[in-house]
């Protein structure tokens, strides 16, 4: 099992592992490979797109970004295992820290934001920004808070549109209380939450729950053994017309991809 998967399991949501297939396989093939290796079942994401250029084209290779997206380390992970682990541990401690360059006077405001008091933090930030000495940093922090919140709202919308209804509801409901008082964000969250909780999506919710349960089983079994493939096909049929049904059908097709 790749060390990255173990790190994703260890840190959960505090770390994001992104696997980038670099030898020309398409995404379906890369996914099929990962399923067959029993690498699925964590929060790790899988793509064939390179979001970042690092030195050289040799494999294996890695890049570690800090909490603000800056490149911290890159190279051959086999040579740098302990360094990578130490750097990740350090960065995970910083996930609640204010963005670099934030003056001390705004640090507590950021702490409120991280706790979920979105509207309160933004209002406080704006108030502190009336001090000329803080106006620049306060605007930067305000923009960051809004951007992160809108990113979360965007994720909620995507989750709903792709049939992850329960996950969308949980994410957006968690945000709803904190944005009360910020008119724009409050209305955006309310709109997406209403959509996620719409009764017309009950079939999507049921299908998604069934697929999640089957996928959890697959990560423990031989993922593409006949019984699992048949279960996927049956689920796709039973929940035809739902996004989870489509995903089940697609996953069953991945089982047909073999490797020499």
């Amino acid at each position: 099992m790749p060390a990255s998967i173990k790190l994703q399991q260890e840190y959960g949501d505090a770390l994001q592992v992104l696997f980038v297939e670099c030898q020309g396989a398409d995404q379906e093939t890369a996914e099929a490979f990962a399923w067959r290796q029993k690498w699925m079942g964590t929060r790790a994401m899988w793509t064939t797109e390179r979001p970042l250029e690092v030195g050289g084209n040799g494999l294996p290779a890695f890049a570690l970004l800090d909490t603000e997206g800056k490149l911290l380390l890159d190279g051959n992970p086999l040579d740098m295992k302990k360094k990578i682990e130490a750097a990740i541990a350090e960065q995970v401690k910083k996930t609640k820290a204010a963005p670099s360059g934030t003056p001390d006077a705004l640090a507590k405001t950021w702490a409120r934001f991280v706790k979920g008091e979105v509207a309160g933090a933004i209002a406080e930030c704006d108030k502190l920004g009336t001090d000329v000495a803080l106006s620049g940093p306060a605007k930067t922090l305000h923009d960051e808070m809004v951007a992160r919140t809108e990113s979360t709202i965007g994720r909620g919308k995507w989750l709903t549109e792709n049939g992850y209804v329960a996950e969308a509801s949980e994410l957006l409901a968690g945000l709803a209380k904190g944005v009360k008082g910020h008119a724009d964000l409050e209305s955006k969250v309310a709109a997406e939450l209403t959509h996620a909780q719409d009764k017309s999506l009950a079939a999507e919710a049921e299908a998604s729950k069934a697929l999640a349960s089957l996928q959890a089983k697959m990560t423990k079994d031989k993922p593409f053994e006949d019984a699992n493939v048949k279960a996927l096909q049956k689920l796709a049929e039973k929940h035809a017309g739902t996004k989870a049904g489509e995903r089940a059908a697609q996953l069953a097709k991945l089982a047909a991809i073999e490797f020499k």
């Binding site: 770390l15 696997f19 979001p51 990578i84």
Partner: protein, 65 residues
């Protein structure tokens, strides 16, 4: 369906590198600029690297060969 998983030669790797140079960004916040053209598997709504601000990101470059 069997895939022929031949090793890619230097040309393919060089081309991949060239594409990567034109599509990925470098510079102080290089890790936040990229937007995926196709949602990664298991993305759960992450559309681009900017959505991952606030947590460290470990990019593992690997291959199916």
């Amino acid at each position: 369906m069997k895939h022929s998983m031949r090793k890619h030669g230097g040309l393919a790797v060089a081309l991949l590198g060239a594409v990567a140079l034109t599509t990925a960004a470098r510079g102080g916040d290089e890790g936040t600029r990229y937007t995926f053209s196709k949602a990664p598997a298991n993305s759960m709504g992450v559309k681009g690297m900017a959505d991952l601000r606030g947590k460290p990101v470990l990019i593992d470059f690997w291959g199916t060969h």
